[in-house]
């Protein structure tokens, strides 16, 4: 017997995607939004979404950890986190108390390419929330004791992270893959660089980079565009115009040949490993085709990597691959882990799956399945106002527009087997690979020599990455 119940909607809903009735012609369309520029140069993106009484903001300052000076790694990230630690009129504790009092969600972080803040308020708290947000962005004072405190916490945070291989392997990999290039630097900073960072560095970083012409301010939610624009202008018109910093990121060429880094974590019962090379950027014209091939290769549960290493052999809990797309070419990585004694078998198998991709390509069945999968999984990624604000801010940062989303399904559908063959050859490295392993060196060191002519070693308790 079926007992059933239906709910009256407890929250109303928003319609953001148009889907025609026939399943194979479903298309995706980003809701419309306006783009304007304030007189001081700040870019403003506004998207009305009235169905839930929430307003989401997403702010991008177009400077990330790539602007950190050598030896001062972590400065962009530290500056972002310090913004809320005291303003001209509020102590750190007052900022937190005021944010918490309206149940606000606020976070400000740096990545390699930019610094981003997100904030979300119930509509009834909008004016209060906006007042706080503006205070945090325009009036931070970076108290010395807060700077010292946060640096000390970050140093300990790295120690704590190093107690767990999978929380730091990405940082070791970035450093090893990118060498002296900007993407090598640890975004959140290093135990080596932190003691060198001073309050003056933070203040200077803020003054140079947090300027209107370097800022994108996106909002999505329950507001009237003209009113929101007026509110933002009222707060930000007084932010003095200033030349934005010149930021150039040198793209790294792929590593030639093979290199391997083994980081010794002597208590490890499992080897964590990344295999990859320099991949693609966010605006690569082939990026949808690359995503299709990568989904087949290592981007979903039934991918070839996960099928081989998990489903068929039980070597691991999970194996995957990713193209991290950034301003300039980010890494392409195969990532997995396995118990110490099966390290060689798992690495050989991952390389075998990569080699098979080159030899025999992907099948029509895989291609068709992947297209359905990618389209089917996309809508929930632009479901909420915070997701939408983030999407439009990032499109703007990368110099893209709504056509990137609106043409997405069409581009997926257009990928042919011939395209995938070219893409495999062009974008999936085979002979040039970087390996990064964290594991128990006394057990696995003898067997890693066969993977690369160059072997480097580190110990996890040593400072740095």
């Amino acid at each position: 017997m079926i007992r059933r119940a239906v709910l009256s909607c407890c929250l109303s809903v928003f319609v953001i995607i148009t889907a025609s009735q026939a399943a194979d012609t479903v298309s995706v369309k980003l809701p419309t939004y306006t783009k304007t520029q304030l007189k001081n140069g700040m870019t403003l993106l506004l998207m009305e979404q009235h169905e839930v009484p929430i307003v989401s903001f997403n702010i991008i300052v177009k400077t990330g950890s790539v602007a950190d000076a050598q030896g001062k790694e972590g400065l962009a990230s530290l500056t972002a986190e310090l913004l809320r630690k005291g303003t001209r009129t509020r102590t750190s504790e007052q900022v937190s108390s005021d944010l918490d009092f309206i149940g606000a969600e606020f976070a400000m972080n740096a990545n390699t390419d930019f610094t981003t803040g997100s904030a979300e308020f119930l509509k009834k708290d909008l004016r209060q929330g906006m007042d706080l947000l503006v205070d945090i962005i325009l009036n931070p004072v970076f108290p010395q004791d807060e700077v010292t405190k946060l640096i000390q916490q970050r140093i300990d945070g790295i120690k704590s992270a190093k107690d767990r291989a999978d929380s730091v392997i990405g940082r070791y990999c970035a450093a090893y893959l990118y060498g002296k290039r900007p993407y090598a630097r640890p975004v959140a900073g290093g135990d080596v660089s932190f003691p060198a960072i001073t309050r003056a560095d933070v203040q200077r970083f803020y003054e140079t980079n947090y300027v209107p012409a370097n800022t994108i301010f996106a909002a999505s939610g329950d507001f009237i565009t003209a009113e929101m624009r007026a509110l933002i202008e009222q707060h930000f018109n007084g932010w003095p115009a200033k030349n934005p910093p010149a930021i150039r990121i040198d793209a790294a060429p792929p590593v030639q040949g093979k290199r391997l880094l083994l980081v010794d974590k002597p208590d490890s019962t499992q080897t964590y490993f990344y295999i990859g090379n320099v991949g693609i950027n966010r605006t690569n014209p082939d990026r949808v085709g690359i995503a299709v091939v990568n989904t087949v290769f290592g981007g979903r549960f039934t991918s070839r990597l996960n099928t081989a290493l998990r489903v068929d052999s039980g070597l691991t809990y999970g194996a995957r691959s990713v193209f991290d797309q950034r301003k300039v070419a980010g890494p392409f990585l195969i990532t997995t882990y396995t118990k110490n004694s099966s390290t060689e078998q798992a690495m050989d198998m991952a390389l075998g799956v990569l080699s098979a991709l080159h030899q025999s390509g992907i099948t029509e069945t895989e291609l068709a399945s992947t297209k359905e999968y990618m389209k089917g999984q996309f809508p929930p990624s632009i479901e909420t106002t915070d997701q939408l604000a983030s999407v439009i801010a990032r499109l703007e940062f990368y110099g893209l527009d709504e056509s990137d989303i609106n043409s997405y399904f069409g581009k997926i559908d257009a990928v042919t087997i011939a395209d995938t063959r070219r893409i495999v050859k062009q974008y999936f490295p085979l002979d040039n690979l970087v390996f990064v392993l964290i594991g128990k060196a006394s057990e696995i060191q003898p067997l890693v020599k066969k993977y690369a002519p160059v072997i480097d070693t580190k110990v996890i308790t040593q400072p740095g990455f």
Partner: protein, 405 residues
């Protein structure tokens, strides 16, 4: 099977959750972790859709899935476009009805779960410590063993154990399905009548009668382990979700731990600078459970200094009422969190299912905000005095060793 449907046409997508009321609390020593292992086996082939086909068919239809097991339930989650709706019903019905147990798949999946345990527990100091905390805090009740199971049990489950688990846990009557998204009630009813209703009912899991006896004094566990930083966990016995004290305890937890203006953050991280993080956890539970506090002391700080400061903060909420502003702030945080969880079809499906399972009725989700709002300052003081006591406490400490063994 009880089915809860919420129509939400915001995106052409659907979230479906199926909660089976069976988890590690239904297990026995020797086969700990069986519920979680069984969760994995539910993806490894049934009669119509053989090994690998569940995932292959789902992904080719545009869907993806996941599943989780905790102390109390095993939950299966499917996220898919509207066009895949009937296929998903067919897939789910097939495995509820006709799961197959292939010896080779069992052995392979056993290794997968062992790898999962290595990554979530054995190579994760927090995982090790939490396991030790629960093992010490519970002496009679099944919450004492880890959901993923002891490694030696993972190595020793048999086909027989799996079959018995299927028989006791996977009767349709032991499950609740929640469907949220671009559907109509009528079409779900029709599909359920076609695919789910014909499935024969089997037995239900034996009632878990064990109740943890009152704790008679503080218990302490120490883990010596290669590490750079220590970790402290304290667990206090607190009631199950359906108990009236659940809401005051959640509000108290919010005052103490949520946000950078919370009492614990202010004291341990901001003012005294004893720790790099502090958090409190009190999850849904069918039986009396633990409210846990996790503190990561800073390098060079004696863990007992961080521990003492934590207790002083707990004493403060016992000896004096919290302020009106703190109470209102906590309620605002909880209300905002509630709305945020309900923004997505996935969040709604999870919340409806959890209220149905842990509070006995999905409708109680809609009175949650009222229940938070009814909590008074006096309630907070009362529950702090009743539960957050030395006698009721188990402490687990991870003490770093420089050499790995």
């Amino acid at each position: 099977m009880r089915i809860v449907v919420q129509e939400d046409h915001s995106i052409p997508s659907i979230a479906m959750y199926i909660f089976y009321r069976i988890g590690s609390r239904n297990e026995r020593p020797g086969t700990t972790g069986l519920s979680h292992f069984f969760e994995h086996m539910m993806f490894n082939g049934a009669r119509k859709y053989g090994p690998k086909q569940f995932d292959q068919v789902m992904e080719a239809s545009g869907g993806s899935n996941n599943a989780y097991t905790n102390n109390d339930v095993t939950a299966y989650q499917d996220w898919f476009p509207r066009s895949a709706l009937e296929t998903i019903f067919d897939l789910e019905a097939d495995r509820i009805q006709n799961l197959s147990f292939d010896e080779k798949m069992i052995e392979s999946e056993r290794q997968v779960v062992a790898s999962e345990r290595r990554t979530s527990v054995d190579n994760n100091n927090l995982g090790i410590l939490e396991e030790q905390l629960n093992a010490a805090a519970f002496t009679a009740h099944p919450y004492q063993w880890p959901v993923i199971g002891w490694m030696v049990d993972i190595e020793n489950w048999t086909m027989q154990d799996l079959k018995r688990h299927f028989d006791i846990g996977y009767s349709p009557a032991n499950a609740t399905m929640v469907v949220v998204g671009d559907v109509t009630l009528d079409e779900i009813v029709k599909l359920a009548q076609k695919y789910i209703e014909p499935i024969a009912s089997r037995g239900l899991p034996p009632t878990v009668t064990t109740r943890e006896p009152d704790q008679l004094g503080e218990r302490r566990v120490t883990v010596h382990k290669f590490a750079q930083l220590p970790i402290l966990m304290m667990g206090y016995h607190v009631p199950q979700s359906a108990d009236p004290d659940y809401y005051p305890l959640q509000v108290l937890k919010t005052v103490l731990f949520e946000g950078q203006s919370s009492r614990m953050y202010q004291r341990l991280i901001d003012k005294d600078q004893l720790a790099i993080s502090v958090r409190g956890d009190y999850s849904f539970a069918l039986d009396p459970t633990l409210l846990t506090i996790t503190v990561r002391p800073k390098a060079g700080i004696q863990p007992d200094a961080a521990e003492r400061a934590t207790y002083e903060e707990l004493d403060r909420v016992k000896s004096a009422l919290v302020t009106d502003r703190e109470l209102e702030k906590a309620k605002n945080i909880l209300t905002a969190d509630f709305y945020r969880r309900m923004k997505t079809i996935d969040g709604k499906a999870g919340a409806l299912g959890n209220y149905e399972v842990f509070f006995g009725d999905y409708r109680k989700l809609f009175t949650a905000a009222d229940n938070y709002n009814k909590v008074t300052k006096e309630d907070l003081q009362r529950v702090a005095k009743k539960y957050l006591t030395e006698k009721n406490r188990t402490v687990a400490a991870l003490i770093p060793e420089e050499e790995a063994k």
